[in-house]
Symmetry: C2
Subunit: 231 residues, 2 copies
DNA sequence: ATGCAGTTGTGCACGTGTTCACAAAGCGGG
DNA sequence: CCCGCTTTGTGAACACGTGCACAACTGCAT
Protein backbone atom coordinates (compact mmCIF):
# COMPACT_ATOMS: atom_id res chain seq x y z
CA UNK A 1 0.00 0.00 0.00
CA UNK A 2 1.56 3.30 -1.05
CA UNK A 3 2.21 5.66 1.81
CA UNK A 4 0.32 8.80 0.94
CA UNK A 5 1.73 12.27 1.25
CA UNK A 6 2.02 13.63 4.78
CA UNK A 7 -1.45 14.98 5.23
CA UNK A 8 -2.04 18.49 6.50
CA UNK A 9 -1.60 18.63 10.24
CA UNK A 10 -4.86 17.92 12.04
CA UNK A 11 -5.84 20.30 14.86
CA UNK A 12 -5.54 18.85 18.33
CA UNK A 13 -9.20 19.35 19.08
CA UNK A 14 -10.11 17.34 16.03
CA UNK A 15 -7.68 14.56 16.87
CA UNK A 16 -9.39 14.26 20.23
CA UNK A 17 -12.79 13.86 18.61
CA UNK A 18 -11.88 11.41 15.86
CA UNK A 19 -11.76 8.44 18.25
CA UNK A 20 -15.29 9.26 19.34
CA UNK A 21 -16.54 9.38 15.77
CA UNK A 22 -14.71 6.15 15.12
CA UNK A 23 -16.37 4.31 17.97
CA UNK A 24 -19.80 5.48 16.86
CA UNK A 25 -19.17 4.60 13.24
CA UNK A 26 -18.03 1.11 14.17
CA UNK A 27 -21.20 0.70 16.20
CA UNK A 28 -23.30 1.91 13.30
CA UNK A 29 -21.53 -0.45 10.93
CA UNK A 30 -22.44 -3.24 13.31
CA UNK A 31 -26.07 -2.25 12.94
CA UNK A 32 -25.91 -2.47 9.17
CA UNK A 33 -25.96 1.29 8.72
CA UNK A 34 -24.12 1.96 5.46
CA UNK A 35 -24.35 5.70 5.19
CA UNK A 36 -24.55 8.51 7.73
CA UNK A 37 -24.95 12.27 7.48
CA UNK A 38 -22.92 14.80 9.43
CA UNK A 39 -26.15 15.63 11.20
CA UNK A 40 -26.69 12.02 12.27
CA UNK A 41 -23.13 11.51 13.39
CA UNK A 42 -23.19 14.82 15.25
CA UNK A 43 -26.27 13.76 17.14
CA UNK A 44 -24.71 10.48 18.22
CA UNK A 45 -21.44 12.17 19.17
CA UNK A 46 -23.15 14.99 21.02
CA UNK A 47 -21.59 17.75 18.95
CA UNK A 48 -22.43 20.29 16.29
CA UNK A 49 -22.91 19.08 12.71
CA UNK A 50 -20.67 21.77 11.25
CA UNK A 51 -17.93 20.63 13.57
CA UNK A 52 -18.28 17.06 12.35
CA UNK A 53 -17.99 18.17 8.75
CA UNK A 54 -14.98 20.33 9.43
CA UNK A 55 -13.31 17.58 11.41
CA UNK A 56 -13.89 15.04 8.67
CA UNK A 57 -12.76 17.47 6.02
CA UNK A 58 -9.26 17.32 7.50
CA UNK A 59 -9.12 13.71 6.40
CA UNK A 60 -10.08 14.64 2.86
CA UNK A 61 -13.33 15.04 0.97
CA UNK A 62 -14.79 11.66 1.70
CA UNK A 63 -18.46 12.58 1.85
CA UNK A 64 -21.03 12.65 -0.91
CA UNK A 65 -23.11 15.81 -1.15
CA UNK A 66 -26.77 15.17 -0.84
CA UNK A 67 -26.10 11.75 0.66
CA UNK A 68 -23.63 11.67 3.51
CA UNK A 69 -20.63 9.56 4.42
CA UNK A 70 -20.15 5.89 3.69
CA UNK A 71 -19.66 4.39 7.13
CA UNK A 72 -17.22 1.62 6.27
CA UNK A 73 -15.01 3.90 4.24
CA UNK A 74 -14.96 6.55 6.95
CA UNK A 75 -14.03 3.95 9.54
CA UNK A 76 -11.11 2.96 7.38
CA UNK A 77 -9.97 6.53 6.85
CA UNK A 78 -10.15 7.50 10.50
CA UNK A 79 -8.35 4.32 11.51
CA UNK A 80 -5.62 5.08 9.06
CA UNK A 81 -5.29 8.68 10.16
CA UNK A 82 -5.11 7.70 13.83
CA UNK A 83 -2.54 5.04 13.08
CA UNK A 84 -4.89 2.24 14.09
CA UNK A 85 -4.17 0.03 11.11
CA UNK A 86 -1.99 -2.06 13.35
CA UNK A 87 -1.93 -2.88 17.06
CA UNK A 88 -0.02 -0.79 19.57
CA UNK A 89 1.08 -3.02 22.42
CA UNK A 90 1.25 -1.21 25.76
CA UNK A 91 3.14 -1.93 28.94
CA UNK A 92 1.67 -1.10 32.31
CA UNK A 93 3.88 0.00 35.18
CA UNK A 94 2.32 -0.62 38.56
CA UNK A 95 0.27 -3.68 39.49
CA UNK A 96 -1.78 -2.08 42.23
CA UNK A 97 -5.52 -1.56 42.19
CA UNK A 98 -5.55 0.49 39.05
CA UNK A 99 -2.87 -1.41 37.16
CA UNK A 100 -4.75 -4.63 37.76
CA UNK A 101 -8.03 -3.12 36.64
CA UNK A 102 -6.40 -1.82 33.48
CA UNK A 103 -4.73 -5.12 32.72
CA UNK A 104 -8.00 -6.93 33.28
CA UNK A 105 -9.98 -4.53 31.13
CA UNK A 106 -10.58 -6.20 27.80
CA UNK A 107 -11.44 -2.93 26.08
CA UNK A 108 -7.74 -2.24 25.60
CA UNK A 109 -6.97 -5.29 23.56
CA UNK A 110 -10.24 -5.07 21.66
CA UNK A 111 -9.42 -1.58 20.53
CA UNK A 112 -5.95 -2.38 19.33
CA UNK A 113 -3.90 -1.85 22.47
CA UNK A 114 -3.00 -5.31 23.77
CA UNK A 115 -1.23 -5.44 27.11
CA UNK A 116 2.26 -6.62 26.27
CA UNK A 117 3.25 -6.68 29.89
CA UNK A 118 2.66 -5.40 33.38
CA UNK A 119 5.48 -4.75 35.79
CA UNK A 120 5.87 -3.75 39.42
CA UNK A 121 8.81 -2.88 41.61
CA UNK A 122 7.43 -4.92 44.50
CA UNK A 123 8.79 -8.50 44.33
CA UNK A 124 5.71 -9.66 46.20
CA UNK A 125 3.45 -8.63 43.32
CA UNK A 126 5.55 -10.37 40.69
CA UNK A 127 4.27 -13.67 39.39
CA UNK A 128 0.53 -13.30 39.77
CA UNK A 129 -1.46 -13.38 36.57
CA UNK A 130 -3.91 -10.63 35.67
CA UNK A 131 -6.04 -10.75 32.57
CA UNK A 132 -3.85 -13.46 31.18
CA UNK A 133 -0.65 -11.50 31.67
CA UNK A 134 1.90 -12.38 34.28
CA UNK A 135 3.21 -9.54 36.44
CA UNK A 136 6.95 -9.19 35.99
CA UNK A 137 9.60 -7.22 37.80
CA UNK A 138 10.26 -3.69 36.66
CA UNK A 139 13.83 -4.65 35.85
CA UNK A 140 12.41 -6.63 32.94
CA UNK A 141 10.87 -3.48 31.49
CA UNK A 142 13.51 -2.86 28.88
CA UNK A 143 13.38 -6.43 27.73
CA UNK A 144 9.59 -6.33 27.37
CA UNK A 145 9.57 -3.01 25.54
CA UNK A 146 12.24 -4.05 23.10
CA UNK A 147 11.14 -7.60 22.40
CA UNK A 148 7.49 -6.64 22.00
CA UNK A 149 8.22 -3.34 20.23
CA UNK A 150 6.18 -1.38 22.75
CA UNK A 151 6.00 2.36 22.20
CA UNK A 152 3.26 3.25 24.68
CA UNK A 153 3.65 2.98 28.43
CA UNK A 154 1.00 3.37 31.11
CA UNK A 155 1.96 4.76 34.51
CA UNK A 156 -0.34 3.31 37.18
CA UNK A 157 1.88 3.70 40.22
CA UNK A 158 1.43 5.70 43.40
CA UNK A 159 2.35 9.37 42.91
CA UNK A 160 5.70 9.02 44.63
CA UNK A 161 6.86 6.38 42.15
CA UNK A 162 5.44 7.93 39.02
CA UNK A 163 8.41 9.99 37.92
CA UNK A 164 10.71 7.03 38.35
CA UNK A 165 8.34 4.88 36.36
CA UNK A 166 8.28 7.46 33.58
CA UNK A 167 12.08 7.69 33.57
CA UNK A 168 12.37 3.94 33.28
CA UNK A 169 9.81 3.81 30.49
CA UNK A 170 11.67 6.45 28.53
CA UNK A 171 14.97 4.72 29.10
CA UNK A 172 13.45 1.46 27.92
CA UNK A 173 12.49 3.16 24.67
CA UNK A 174 8.85 4.08 25.09
CA UNK A 175 7.87 7.31 23.32
CA UNK A 176 4.32 7.87 24.56
CA UNK A 177 3.06 7.76 28.11
CA UNK A 178 -0.42 7.64 29.56
CA UNK A 179 -0.15 8.83 33.14
CA UNK A 180 -2.73 7.99 35.79
CA UNK A 181 -0.70 9.28 38.71
CA UNK A 182 -1.59 12.72 40.04
CA UNK A 183 1.83 14.12 39.22
CA UNK A 184 3.24 16.36 36.52
CA UNK A 185 5.76 14.17 34.74
CA UNK A 186 8.98 15.60 33.42
CA UNK A 187 9.97 13.90 30.19
CA UNK A 188 12.51 14.60 27.48
CA UNK A 189 11.44 16.53 24.44
CA UNK A 190 9.76 14.36 21.86
CA UNK A 191 7.97 12.13 24.35
CA UNK A 192 4.20 12.49 24.30
CA UNK A 193 2.40 12.45 27.61
CA UNK A 194 -1.28 12.44 28.34
CA UNK A 195 -2.65 12.35 31.81
CA UNK A 196 -5.82 11.07 33.35
CA UNK A 197 -6.36 12.43 36.84
CA UNK A 198 -9.50 11.20 38.50
CA UNK A 199 -9.31 13.62 41.39
CA UNK A 200 -8.93 16.55 39.02
CA UNK A 201 -12.03 15.47 37.14
CA UNK A 202 -14.01 15.29 40.35
CA UNK A 203 -12.73 18.66 41.48
CA UNK A 204 -13.84 20.21 38.21
CA UNK A 205 -17.29 18.72 38.74
CA UNK A 206 -17.18 20.08 42.26
CA UNK A 207 -16.63 23.58 40.92
CA UNK A 208 -19.72 23.48 38.74
CA UNK A 209 -21.65 21.70 41.45
CA UNK A 210 -20.78 24.41 43.91
CA UNK A 211 -21.69 27.16 41.48
CA UNK A 212 -25.04 25.53 41.03
CA UNK A 213 -26.22 26.35 44.51
CA UNK A 214 -27.38 29.92 44.80
CA UNK A 215 -27.03 30.66 41.11
CA UNK A 216 -29.64 28.21 39.93
CA UNK A 217 -29.17 25.86 37.04
CA UNK A 218 -27.14 27.19 34.21
CA UNK A 219 -25.24 26.04 31.20
CA UNK A 220 -21.69 25.15 32.07
CA UNK A 221 -20.00 24.53 28.76
CA UNK A 222 -19.81 21.64 26.38
CA UNK A 223 -18.36 18.20 26.55
CA UNK A 224 -15.14 18.37 24.60
CA UNK A 225 -12.03 16.35 24.89
CA UNK A 226 -9.22 18.67 24.00
CA UNK A 227 -5.98 17.87 25.65
CA UNK A 228 -2.60 18.11 24.15
CA UNK A 229 0.12 15.54 24.08
CA UNK A 230 3.26 17.14 25.40
CA UNK A 231 6.52 17.12 23.54
CA UNK B 1 -18.23 33.66 57.45
CA UNK B 2 -19.94 36.06 55.04
CA UNK B 3 -20.68 34.56 51.67
CA UNK B 4 -18.89 36.76 49.20
CA UNK B 5 -20.43 38.10 46.03
CA UNK B 6 -20.78 35.66 43.15
CA UNK B 7 -17.32 35.91 41.69
CA UNK B 8 -16.80 36.54 38.00
CA UNK B 9 -17.19 33.36 36.01
CA UNK B 10 -13.89 31.51 35.73
CA UNK B 11 -12.89 30.26 32.25
CA UNK B 12 -13.16 26.53 31.77
CA UNK B 13 -9.48 26.18 30.95
CA UNK B 14 -8.59 27.82 34.23
CA UNK B 15 -10.99 25.68 36.22
CA UNK B 16 -9.24 22.64 34.77
CA UNK B 17 -5.85 23.89 35.94
CA UNK B 18 -6.79 25.02 39.43
CA UNK B 19 -6.86 21.46 40.80
CA UNK B 20 -3.33 20.97 39.53
CA UNK B 21 -2.10 24.12 41.22
CA UNK B 22 -3.92 23.05 44.35
CA UNK B 23 -2.23 19.69 44.50
CA UNK B 24 1.18 21.26 44.04
CA UNK B 25 0.53 23.95 46.61
CA UNK B 26 -0.58 21.39 49.18
CA UNK B 27 2.59 19.46 48.52
CA UNK B 28 4.66 22.59 48.91
CA UNK B 29 2.89 23.45 52.14
CA UNK B 30 3.85 19.99 53.37
CA UNK B 31 7.47 20.86 52.70
CA UNK B 32 7.26 24.02 54.75
CA UNK B 33 7.28 26.30 51.74
CA UNK B 34 5.40 29.42 52.78
CA UNK B 35 5.61 31.53 49.70
CA UNK B 36 5.80 30.76 45.99
CA UNK B 37 6.18 32.86 42.87
CA UNK B 38 4.15 32.41 39.71
CA UNK B 39 7.40 31.36 38.11
CA UNK B 40 7.98 28.62 40.67
CA UNK B 41 4.42 27.35 40.56
CA UNK B 42 4.48 27.39 36.79
CA UNK B 43 7.59 25.27 36.73
CA UNK B 44 6.06 22.67 39.02
CA UNK B 45 2.80 22.64 37.09
CA UNK B 46 4.51 22.50 33.73
CA UNK B 47 2.89 25.64 32.40
CA UNK B 48 3.69 29.23 31.54
CA UNK B 49 4.16 31.72 34.38
CA UNK B 50 1.89 34.30 32.79
CA UNK B 51 -0.82 31.70 32.60
CA UNK B 52 -0.46 30.97 36.30
CA UNK B 53 -0.79 34.64 37.14
CA UNK B 54 -3.81 35.09 34.91
CA UNK B 55 -5.44 31.97 36.31
CA UNK B 56 -4.88 33.08 39.88
CA UNK B 57 -6.06 36.59 39.10
CA UNK B 58 -9.53 35.19 38.50
CA UNK B 59 -9.68 34.33 42.19
CA UNK B 60 -8.77 37.88 43.14
CA UNK B 61 -5.55 39.75 43.75
CA UNK B 62 -4.06 37.43 46.28
CA UNK B 63 -0.40 37.81 45.42
CA UNK B 64 2.13 40.28 46.76
CA UNK B 65 4.18 42.08 44.14
CA UNK B 66 7.85 41.59 44.59
CA UNK B 67 7.21 38.55 46.78
CA UNK B 68 4.80 35.99 45.40
CA UNK B 69 1.82 34.11 46.74
CA UNK B 70 1.38 32.89 50.28
CA UNK B 71 0.95 29.14 49.86
CA UNK B 72 -1.48 28.48 52.69
CA UNK B 73 -3.72 31.35 51.72
CA UNK B 74 -3.76 30.33 48.09
CA UNK B 75 -4.65 26.78 49.06
CA UNK B 76 -7.58 28.11 50.99
CA UNK B 77 -8.76 30.37 48.18
CA UNK B 78 -8.54 27.68 45.50
CA UNK B 79 -10.32 25.21 47.75
CA UNK B 80 -13.07 27.68 48.33
CA UNK B 81 -13.41 28.52 44.67
CA UNK B 82 -13.56 24.86 43.67
CA UNK B 83 -16.10 24.14 46.36
CA UNK B 84 -13.72 21.89 48.26
CA UNK B 85 -14.43 23.36 51.67
CA UNK B 86 -16.57 20.35 52.37
CA UNK B 87 -16.61 16.73 51.23
CA UNK B 88 -18.54 15.59 48.19
CA UNK B 89 -19.60 12.00 48.67
CA UNK B 90 -19.77 10.03 45.43
CA UNK B 91 -21.64 6.92 44.48
CA UNK B 92 -20.15 4.42 42.06
CA UNK B 93 -22.37 2.47 39.67
CA UNK B 94 -20.79 -0.75 38.52
CA UNK B 95 -18.71 -3.07 40.69
CA UNK B 96 -16.66 -4.62 37.93
CA UNK B 97 -12.94 -4.31 37.49
CA UNK B 98 -12.92 -0.56 37.29
CA UNK B 99 -15.59 0.11 39.88
CA UNK B 100 -13.69 -2.02 42.37
CA UNK B 101 -10.42 -0.26 41.61
CA UNK B 102 -12.06 3.11 42.08
CA UNK B 103 -13.72 2.10 45.33
CA UNK B 104 -10.43 0.74 46.59
CA UNK B 105 -8.48 3.81 45.57
CA UNK B 106 -7.89 5.86 48.69
CA UNK B 107 -7.05 8.99 46.71
CA UNK B 108 -10.75 9.73 46.36
CA UNK B 109 -11.52 9.94 50.03
CA UNK B 110 -8.27 11.74 50.79
CA UNK B 111 -9.12 14.46 48.33
CA UNK B 112 -12.58 15.05 49.66
CA UNK B 113 -14.63 12.59 47.62
CA UNK B 114 -15.51 9.73 49.97
CA UNK B 115 -17.25 6.76 48.41
CA UNK B 116 -20.74 6.87 49.87
CA UNK B 117 -21.72 3.69 48.11
CA UNK B 118 -21.12 1.34 45.25
CA UNK B 119 -23.93 -0.45 43.48
CA UNK B 120 -24.32 -3.09 40.80
CA UNK B 121 -27.25 -4.56 38.97
CA UNK B 122 -25.85 -8.09 39.27
CA UNK B 123 -27.18 -9.73 42.45
CA UNK B 124 -24.08 -11.91 42.50
CA UNK B 125 -21.86 -8.90 43.06
CA UNK B 126 -23.95 -7.50 45.89
CA UNK B 127 -22.65 -8.04 49.38
CA UNK B 128 -18.91 -8.15 48.85
CA UNK B 129 -16.93 -5.41 50.53
CA UNK B 130 -14.50 -3.22 48.59
CA UNK B 131 -12.38 -0.60 50.25
CA UNK B 132 -14.56 -0.76 53.31
CA UNK B 133 -17.77 -0.23 51.36
CA UNK B 134 -20.30 -2.94 50.82
CA UNK B 135 -21.64 -3.39 47.30
CA UNK B 136 -25.37 -2.87 47.22
CA UNK B 137 -28.03 -3.45 44.62
CA UNK B 138 -28.70 -0.70 42.15
CA UNK B 139 -32.27 -0.49 43.39
CA UNK B 140 -30.85 1.04 46.56
CA UNK B 141 -29.34 3.87 44.55
CA UNK B 142 -31.99 6.44 45.33
CA UNK B 143 -31.85 5.63 49.00
CA UNK B 144 -28.07 6.03 49.09
CA UNK B 145 -28.09 9.26 47.13
CA UNK B 146 -30.75 10.83 49.27
CA UNK B 147 -29.63 9.67 52.67
CA UNK B 148 -25.99 10.53 52.05
CA UNK B 149 -26.75 13.69 50.09
CA UNK B 150 -24.72 12.51 47.11
CA UNK B 151 -24.56 14.86 44.15
CA UNK B 152 -21.80 13.19 42.13
CA UNK B 153 -22.18 9.80 40.49
CA UNK B 154 -19.51 7.70 38.80
CA UNK B 155 -20.47 5.45 35.90
CA UNK B 156 -18.16 2.44 35.82
CA UNK B 157 -20.36 -0.01 33.96
CA UNK B 158 -19.92 -1.76 30.63
CA UNK B 159 -20.86 0.49 27.70
CA UNK B 160 -24.20 -1.20 27.16
CA UNK B 161 -25.35 -0.38 30.68
CA UNK B 162 -23.94 3.13 30.90
CA UNK B 163 -26.94 5.09 29.67
CA UNK B 164 -29.22 3.21 32.03
CA UNK B 165 -26.83 3.88 34.88
CA UNK B 166 -26.81 7.57 34.04
CA UNK B 167 -30.59 7.67 33.85
CA UNK B 168 -30.86 6.04 37.24
CA UNK B 169 -28.34 8.40 38.75
CA UNK B 170 -30.21 11.41 37.44
CA UNK B 171 -33.51 10.01 38.67
CA UNK B 172 -31.97 9.42 42.07
CA UNK B 173 -31.05 13.09 42.25
CA UNK B 174 -27.41 13.21 41.21
CA UNK B 175 -26.45 16.37 39.30
CA UNK B 176 -22.89 15.61 38.20
CA UNK B 177 -21.61 12.48 36.50
CA UNK B 178 -18.13 11.19 35.88
CA UNK B 179 -18.40 8.69 33.05
CA UNK B 180 -15.79 5.99 32.45
CA UNK B 181 -17.82 4.10 29.88
CA UNK B 182 -16.95 4.69 26.23
CA UNK B 183 -20.37 6.07 25.43
CA UNK B 184 -21.80 9.52 24.86
CA UNK B 185 -24.31 9.94 27.66
CA UNK B 186 -27.56 11.78 27.08
CA UNK B 187 -28.56 13.72 30.17
CA UNK B 188 -31.12 16.40 30.92
CA UNK B 189 -30.07 20.00 30.76
CA UNK B 190 -28.37 21.16 33.93
CA UNK B 191 -26.58 17.90 34.62
CA UNK B 192 -22.80 18.14 34.33
CA UNK B 193 -21.00 15.26 32.70
CA UNK B 194 -17.30 14.65 32.34
CA UNK B 195 -15.92 11.63 30.66
CA UNK B 196 -12.73 9.67 30.99
CA UNK B 197 -12.19 7.34 28.07
CA UNK B 198 -9.03 5.33 28.27
CA UNK B 199 -9.23 4.02 24.73
CA UNK B 200 -9.64 7.54 23.40
CA UNK B 201 -6.54 8.64 25.25
CA UNK B 202 -4.55 5.80 23.78
CA UNK B 203 -5.86 6.51 20.32
CA UNK B 204 -4.76 10.10 20.59
CA UNK B 205 -1.31 8.93 21.59
CA UNK B 206 -1.42 6.55 18.66
CA UNK B 207 -2.01 9.45 16.30
CA UNK B 208 1.08 11.32 17.46
CA UNK B 209 3.04 8.10 17.63
CA UNK B 210 2.15 7.34 14.06
CA UNK B 211 3.03 10.81 12.88
CA UNK B 212 6.40 10.42 14.50
CA UNK B 213 7.59 7.84 12.04
CA UNK B 214 8.73 9.42 8.83
CA UNK B 215 8.36 12.96 10.07
CA UNK B 216 10.99 12.75 12.78
CA UNK B 217 10.53 14.10 16.27
CA UNK B 218 8.45 17.18 16.53
CA UNK B 219 6.53 19.18 19.03
CA UNK B 220 2.98 17.95 19.37
CA UNK B 221 1.28 20.47 21.59
CA UNK B 222 1.14 21.09 25.29
CA UNK B 223 -0.30 19.21 28.19
CA UNK B 224 -3.53 20.96 29.04
CA UNK B 225 -6.66 19.68 30.59
CA UNK B 226 -9.48 21.60 29.04
CA UNK B 227 -12.70 19.70 28.91
CA UNK B 228 -16.09 21.11 29.44
CA UNK B 229 -18.77 19.90 31.75
CA UNK B 230 -21.91 19.54 29.74
CA UNK B 231 -25.18 21.14 30.72
C1' DA C 1 13.65 59.12 52.12
C1' DT C 2 15.13 57.22 47.98
C1' DG C 3 16.42 53.87 44.80
C1' DC C 4 16.60 49.28 43.21
C1' DA C 5 15.54 44.50 42.49
C1' DG C 6 11.79 41.51 42.25
C1' DT C 7 7.13 40.04 41.19
C1' DT C 8 2.34 40.71 40.30
C1' DG C 9 -1.68 41.99 37.48
C1' DT C 10 -3.30 42.97 32.96
C1' DG C 11 -3.81 45.26 28.18
C1' DC C 12 -2.96 43.67 23.80
C1' DA C 13 -1.93 40.85 19.97
C1' DC C 14 -1.93 36.46 18.36
C1' DG C 15 -3.35 31.77 17.54
C1' DT C 16 -6.72 28.13 17.95
C1' DG C 17 -11.30 26.40 17.91
C1' DT C 18 -16.36 26.98 16.98
C1' DT C 19 -20.32 28.21 14.51
C1' DC C 20 -22.94 30.25 10.88
C1' DA C 21 -24.33 30.50 6.41
C1' DC C 22 -24.11 29.51 1.76
C1' DA C 23 -22.32 28.05 -2.76
C1' DA C 24 -21.18 23.77 -4.93
C1' DA C 25 -22.45 19.33 -5.97
C1' DG C 26 -24.87 14.82 -6.14
C1' DC C 27 -29.39 12.40 -6.67
C1' DG C 28 -33.88 11.17 -8.16
C1' DG C 29 -38.28 12.07 -10.30
C1' DG C 30 -40.88 13.62 -14.00
C1' DC D 1 -32.63 16.93 -19.47
C1' DC D 2 -33.81 19.75 -16.03
C1' DC D 3 -35.49 20.95 -11.47
C1' DG D 4 -35.78 20.76 -6.75
C1' DC D 5 -34.21 18.49 -2.59
C1' DT D 6 -30.52 17.23 0.24
C1' DT D 7 -26.09 17.41 2.21
C1' DT D 8 -21.25 18.47 1.89
C1' DG D 9 -17.20 21.51 2.19
C1' DT D 10 -15.53 25.87 3.49
C1' DG D 11 -15.01 31.10 3.86
C1' DA D 12 -15.73 34.37 7.25
C1' DA D 13 -17.04 36.06 11.73
C1' DC D 14 -16.82 35.26 16.24
C1' DA D 15 -15.39 33.34 20.84
C1' DC D 16 -11.97 31.59 23.62
C1' DG D 17 -7.39 30.71 25.31
C1' DT D 18 -2.36 31.95 25.39
C1' DG D 19 1.74 34.55 26.05
C1' DC D 20 4.33 38.81 25.76
C1' DA D 21 5.58 42.89 27.69
C1' DC D 22 5.29 46.37 30.82
C1' DA D 23 3.37 49.48 34.30
C1' DA D 24 2.28 49.23 39.09
C1' DC D 25 3.54 48.01 43.28
C1' DT D 26 6.29 45.82 47.39
C1' DG D 27 10.05 45.29 50.36
C1' DC D 28 14.68 46.07 51.52
C1' DA D 29 19.06 48.25 51.76
C1' DT D 30 21.34 52.35 52.23
Amino acid sequence: MPVERVRRRIPEATVARLPVYLRILVEQAGEEVECISSEGLAELAGVNAAKVRKDLSYLGSYGTRGVGYEVAFLVYQIRRELGLTHDWPVVIVGAGNLGQALAGYNGFGERGFPVAGIVDIEPGKVGSVIGGVRVRHIDDLQQIVQSRRVSIGVVATPPSAAQDAADRLVRAGVTSILNFAPVVLAVPRGISVRKVDLAVELQILSYYEQRRVGVGLQAVGSNDSTRGASA
